[in-house]
Symmetry: C2
Subunit: 344 residues, 2 copies
């Protein structure tokens, strides 16, 4: 089968790899129909050390179940399923608490041991805990929005929950990538009154406004902090969604939070540290978040997608087949594209 | 009047200073009957640069109102009052939200502009917002416990709330100083099932056990992390109270939190940073807390003190008069004493 392998920074190849198959009795074999490239895939694309063996890529996909192991109970051959970006057993103490990203028997797609989502098929471990059956056909018009439930929409929702977004609150979203844009959707969905997006790409800002952003801050650093303060009566935002992961963006996020507010962070940290004292400690700003347990959110968000109340699929602005994946990485890295969908 | 002035690291003097008096119409003049030395006073005691003018010290006190300005409504001459470690107007947006340490018109005792609590009298700005009248006489046997409502008991309670302590939870308390010990009281009061104290001073550990600690970890660093994991079924504690403020203690706190758990930090950060990625981000550990809005907690905790359900005053193991304050600093700094009360 064909699959995406990264061999180092800037070196993404589509290759023929061994066919995926059921190995464990709890596995499912899924033939992928839709997948995508994630902003977090750009981190290794910028910095990965050269590797002889390479690393299988992709962690967001929808597909058709082709086969299941004898212990699989909840999905069957022919089901269309969506997978979250981490697989999980659904039964351990953390899964039961809704934190599937800390599953005691779970893990992450791709790497050197497992199939990745950017390929023709995937062996899905812990299929019962991991997969959610979709009640639509594989070419339904909602496919782009349904695909975001595998990561970015659930991640934006997680940021909003971690930042205590709620009715009447002021919210600032740091970052206008796909996750930041989904954060805007999530903030609006949870009743935020004011939604300030921090970003500077015209196409993304336009989409953010469509999704419910009420204000735009295109400044950076201290100027951005000042501008958000102006927009929030001098106090800062109740809830801040950190959707980037750099030290500078994190510091900005902490600086624009109102005293007693919260920063929900979902951008994978790329740098060393958070300042311990100012501004978070003295302002009693809560720092929460981490890898989103999107598995916990699929059922919650699914009706809103199916009934058209949210349209996170609009973050996809380019579609490719599997052979076009390397150019998709390039396009996202150069900010030509917000997010690339892969159609099989 | 006599008051405590710090001129540099290790240089604490009791001197005659100008008498405190009412200046603003919202002021009260309070003659202090009880005060104390705080663990946070030891930070400048270790590190303060030499100063010509010095810095007035003390932020925890009980006293008798001697006079009030014409706009003061809620306290009157003769009232016995307790003050929180920050003064606040009680009416601004943050005070109304219960975050009086971020009061828009509030501030901190001592320094170069205001009286400190370690002296014979204090001008109290924003008296209506700041002071709470106590329904007992000035020499009541409960005086030590009532005095802890000015800081350490409210601070331990804040750490517990920030760490989401609740019924049935496992709690770890990093630090066996007065705040950590009050954190044990707070955790028990809020229904924690398991309370692990991390500390190594026999007298403090004994007190922690009296206050409700169920387990003691005297190791440090990685060994402490391993021991707490052992005590919590390999998972870590739901709630961790960081009551020290060093980078190492903060890292320990983050490392012993269970995935999805929370660290409530109230130790004033003495170092630069918190690691951004591990262990907090990938475990979805929430970092919350800051200077405790103890003013918000006085009314809540007062009945428990008055009715003897909690005895935080047991953290005081030494009493001095005002002239003995410099030796009190020395005794606390050398860990001869947990916390020193000053009696006038």
């Amino acid at each position: 089968m064909r699959a995406t392998v990264m061999y180092g920074a800037g070196d993404v190849r589509v290759e023929t790899v061994p066919d995926a198959r059921v190995i464990e009795p709890t596995d499912a074999l899924v033939n992928i129909t839709r997948a995508c490239i994630c902003g977090s895939d750009l981190w290794p694309y910028k910095s990965m050390e050269p590797s002889e063996t390479g690393r299988r890529m992709g962690h967001e996909f929808i597909g058709l179940v082709e086969a299941v192991g004898p212990e699989v109970r909840t999905v069957r051959k022919g089901d269309l399923v969506v997978a979250p970006f981490a697989w999980s057993d659904g039964t351990c103490v953390f899964c039961r608490e809704g934190l599937q990203t800390s599953c005691l028997h779970g893990g992450w797609w791709g790497g050197t041991e497992l199939d990745g989502g950017q390929g023709e098929a995937v062996r899905v471990p812990q299929a019962d805990g991991t997969l959610v059956v979709l009640p639509v056909g594989k070419d339904d018009a909602l496919m782009p929005s349904l695909l975001t439930l595998s990561d970015v929409m659930g991640t934006g929702h997680h940021a909003a929950l971690a930042a205590n977004v709620g009715p009447g609150k002021s919210v600032a979203v740091v970052g206008d990538g796909a996750v930041g844009l989904c954060g805007v959707i999530a903030a609006r969905r949870l009743g935020a009154e004011q939604i300030i997006i921090l970003g500077r790409h015209a196409d993304r800002i336009a989409l953010a406004r469509d999704f419910g952003a009420t204000d735009v801050v295109s400044e950076r650093g201290d100027e951005a902090v000042e501008r958000v303060k102006e927009l929030t009566g001098g106090l800062g935002a109740h809830s801040v969604l950190e959707c980037v992961g750099y030290e500078q963006s994190t510091l900005t996020a902490l600086s624009i939070a109102r005293p007693g507010g919260a920063v929900g962070r979902v951008g994978v940290p790329q740098d060393a540290s958070i300042p311990a004292a100012q501004p978070s400690f003295f302002n009693n700003v809560t720092i929460a978040g981490g890898p989103a347990p999107v598995r916990a959110y699929i059922e919650e968000l699914l009706p809103d997608v199916l009934e058209g109340r949210i349209e996170p699929g609009r973050v996809f602005d380019r579609v490719t087949d599997i052979e076009g994946v390397p150019d998709g990485y390039r396009a996202m890295d150069e900010r030509e594209s917000i997010k690339v969908m892969i159609q099989f």
